[in-house]
Symmetry: C2
Subunit: 373 residues, 2 copies
Amino acid sequence: MNQASNVNEATIREPLGIIDTDVHQSPKRKQDLLPYLPKVWHEQYLTYGSGLANVFPTPIGVSRKDATPEGGGPAGSDPHFMLKHHVEHYGIDYAILTGGSEASFALHPDLDYASAVIRAYNDHTVENWLTVDPRFKGSIAVNVSDPEEAVKEIERLGDHPDMVQIIVCSGVRAPYGQRFYHPIYEAAERYGLPIAFHPGTEGKMYPPTPVGYPTRYMEWHNIIPLTFMAHVNSLVCEGVFEKFPGLKFVGIEGGVAWLPHLMWRMDKNYKALRSQTPWLKRLPSEYIKEHIRLTTQPIEEPERPGEFLQILQMIDAEKTIMYSSDYPHWDFDNPKVVLPPMPRELKARILAGTAAELYGLPLKKTGKAEVNS
Amino acid sequence: MNQASNVNEATIREPLGIIDTDVHQSPKRKQDLLPYLPKVWHEQYLTYGSGLANVFPTPIGVSRKDATPEGGGPAGSDPHFMLKHHVEHYGIDYAILTGGSEASFALHPDLDYASAVIRAYNDHTVENWLTVDPRFKGSIAVNVSDPEEAVKEIERLGDHPDMVQIIVCSGVRAPYGQRFYHPIYEAAERYGLPIAFHPGTEGKMYPPTPVGYPTRYMEWHNIIPLTFMAHVNSLVCEGVFEKFPGLKFVGIEGGVAWLPHLMWRMDKNYKALRSQTPWLKRLPSEYIKEHIRLTTQPIEEPERPGEFLQILQMIDAEKTIMYSSDYPHWDFDNPKVVLPPMPRELKARILAGTAAELYGLPLKKTGKAEVNS
C-alpha cells in the first residue's frame, strides 16, 4: 500500500456481520419439559424419549467439552452461558436456534405423542430462550409426519416475532417434494417462514443408504448428504416451487459441494425427460438457486482451498450459502477462520447477508475493529 | 497461426485412441440363453426372468431407436451391426462389454437360480461376442449375493484372455466394503481383474434414497449416484484397499462431479474420527484416487463447460476418469463431442489411456486424420 489512508482502510475495517444459522439449544433436564407436556405423556417421555435406537454413536461424544455450562447441565442448555461462550465471544449478531432432538419425534409411530412433545419443546424455547436476548431467534419444530397438526403448530406460533423458520428432521418417511407435505408448505408460505431440515434421523426409518446400513458412525456421517440430495431432487421435480413460489428451504449441516453435480445431472435429465414433469417451467438448477439455501458446517476443506471457492462460484454462493457453527457440537466451525480466502463481498453474504434477507433480520454495524475477516 | 507447418500439425494430427468402457450387449432372444442354462431353470427364466418389478419405466424407452440391428432383434443384440454402427463409426479401439440385466439376478432370493442364469449369460458372451472381433472385451458377471459361487465363476473364466473385468450391479443388499464380499475381492485381485458396478437395481432391494421412494423415472435417475457414494464410502472405510492393495473398482454410469465433495467430507471426518478405522493408513481421498475409477456417461454438462474441467482437476481425472458411451441406450454419449475443451493430454487419458492401463489393452495408432478431438 502506498497511502496511509489505504492501509488504515484495509487493516481497520468494519467487521462483517455474523448470523449463525445452526445453534443447538436444549432444556437442562428432561423434567424441564413437563410443565409444557400433558400429564398423559410424562412417563413415556421420561422413560423412552423418542424411542429411537442409536446403533451409530459418535466415538468422541456429541458436544464440545468446553461448552458445558459453568452452572452444570448439558452443553447448549444455559442461554446465559451460550451468550458469553459463543454469541458474544465471536460477535454474532443473531443465533438461529435449531433445537435438539425434538424434530426427530416425527418418526415415532404415535403421532399424538410426537406432536405433544414437539409442542412442549417449542413452548420451552419461547419461554426460556427467546425471552433472554434478542439475538436468539427460534425455529418452530413441527411433526412433519402429521401435516394437519404441523399446520396447527405453525398457526399457533407463526406470528411470534422471534420465530424465524420451521424446522424438521431430514431422515423421514418420504422425500420432501411429495404431496403429503404440501399443507405444511401452504402454511409456511402464508407465514413467510422458510423450512429447514437438519440431520440426525438418517437410518432410523429406512436404511441410510440405497444399499443398506453402513458399519459405524464415521461412515454414517460421511453419507448424510445423500438424504439432502434426495430431498432437493424431490422438491424440485414434484413442482413444490411452482405451487409455492414464495417458499424457501434450508438444508442445515448436510454439506455444500455436492450441489453442482446434482444441479447438472438434474438439468441434463430434465432436457430429455421433462415430459414427466410438465409443471416445471425452468431448469431444475434455477429452482434450486432461488429456493434452496445450504449452511456451511461441516465445511468442506480440500487440500487446495481455492477448489472450494470454485465450488462456491458454481452454485452462486452469494445467495445460496449461509454460515453455521453447529455450536455446541463436536464438529463446530469457528466463524473467524472457517471460510477460505474469498472476496470480501462474498464472505459478507455467506456470514450474514443471505441469512439477514431470508429471516428478515436487520444487521447493525458494531464499530469494533475487524479481526481475521 | 503464422506458419503453414503449425496449421498442419494442429489440424491433421494422429487421432486419440478410444476405449469405450460401457457398451451393452445382449442375446437376441431369451431363448438364446437356454443352451447355456440347466433345463430345470428354463421355464422360470422364460416366464419370470429376474423377477424384479419396474415401477420407474423410462418414458422414452431404454435404447436409441437407430441402434436396432438391420436384421432385427433388440438394440445391442447383433455384434456385427454393433461393430459397424458404433465401434467402427467412431474409430473405437476397444468396446468393454458390460452386459444387460444379468448382474441384477443377484437380487433374486434363489441364489442357485441367479448363479445359473449369470453363468449362462457369461457363456453366451464368450461364444457369441468375444469370438467375433478382438475389439470386444468382456466382463465376467457374478452373483454378488453368493460370494462362494462368485469366486467359482471368477476361477472358471478369469483366465479367458478377452475377459477384462468382473461386473456386478450397484443396487445390492449391503455396501460393497463389507466383509461378506471379501472372498470375491480376493479372487479378483488374484486374477488381476477390476470390479465394475453398474446401476439399474437401485430401489429393488431397499428404497433408493434414505427417505424412501421417489415418484418417477427422472427423479430415480437423478439420484442413482447416491448408491455410488455409499459404495465408495464403504469400500474405503472398511479397509478393502489395505486388505487387497491390488484391487481396483470401476463405478460405471453413476456420475463424476460428486467425487470432490465425498473425498473432502471423508478426509475431514477421518481426521476427527479415525479411531473407528485404525486399519486406514492414508487419507480416504488417497485410497479413492488410487483404487476407484469412474466412467463419464452420462457426463455432467454445466452451462459453463470450464466448471466441469475444474471438477476434473479436483479429482486427478487423468488417472480416475474413463470415457464411456452407454451404447445403445437412450442417453448415449458421442466420444467425438462429449468432452468439454481440455488439454489434449488429459483428453487422451480419459478417452483411452487410463482404461488401457486398467484393462491391460495395447493402443495402436490408426493413422486416420483426427476429427473433433
